[in-house]
Point group: C2
Chain length 173, copies 2
Amino acid sequence: MSTATMQRNKENFLDTTVSSSDLLEHWQGHRRLTRRVIELFPEDKLFNYSIGGMRPFAEMALEFIGMAEPGLDGVISGEWPSIDQIQHRKEKKPSFTKATLLDRWDEVTQKIEIEWPKISAERFRERDVAFGMWEGTIYGFILYWIDNEIHHRGQGYVYLRSLGIEPPPFWER
Amino acid sequence: MSTATMQRNKENFLDTTVSSSDLLEHWQGHRRLTRRVIELFPEDKLFNYSIGGMRPFAEMALEFIGMAEPGLDGVISGEWPSIDQIQHRKEKKPSFTKATLLDRWDEVTQKIEIEWPKISAERFRERDVAFGMWEGTIYGFILYWIDNEIHHRGQGYVYLRSLGIEPPPFWER
């Protein structure tokens, strides 16, 4: 590859690599996989089982919901609830069963699907302060929420394996 | 938000959301975190410890290397080694210590940094067959390698916690 080509590629650095619709599909694909992981847990283990003092998988899943839903609102409106407000909502939240957790999951999935087009192309690259606390770019926040889901879901895979339950293949979305 | 604005946002769907340099920094940030996780494992536990019949963390880290390095070559050249060839290389590979694994890790990190600008903006959106086996887009392959690293590193976090070792904060890159 010539130096001129590499130079041109560098100039194109800001060209589209991952588009808005790619990122939406990427997220929703991961959400479909996480849903299957929630489903695979036996009811009691979903809420009570853990390793090494970590949280049960239901708490992790509720964290994904608690980032995705108010996070999407913040991305769209530029208004973010504070961590204290989220904490307060959490305390008031009803206790879940696997079925009600899955219902909440589906509600958020649908909300993401419907509201995503409200995010303008420019907005993805704007800087903001998520939840009044984390400074960064909008695309960076969204990647963070996806990554956080992958990270903790990977931990859910260890819980399942240690319970003798085969988790779904990672590449199936 | 008006219908006209939502329509305009839909038309902008293919505008830049995540750029080439964003994706590079995203990957390298995750690689820095994974390196710290490798470092935190006691030498013997890195190669021998596991839960639920899963692989020790060293094997997962070697998988990340085994995807990233020939994967990057494939992305740049369009020529992919087959899974059989990779398997063959693996069998011939010397046994690792934590120190030599970290050296290999750093070698691949540097290679990614140096060779990344060889990927043209157009290339990221091309379709190809990775390792002669997985059909998809180039950006999709790269996201997959990053996600796979996050997923298994999350499992490494459970190994560490169950060994009484505090893993690094997930958000520190």
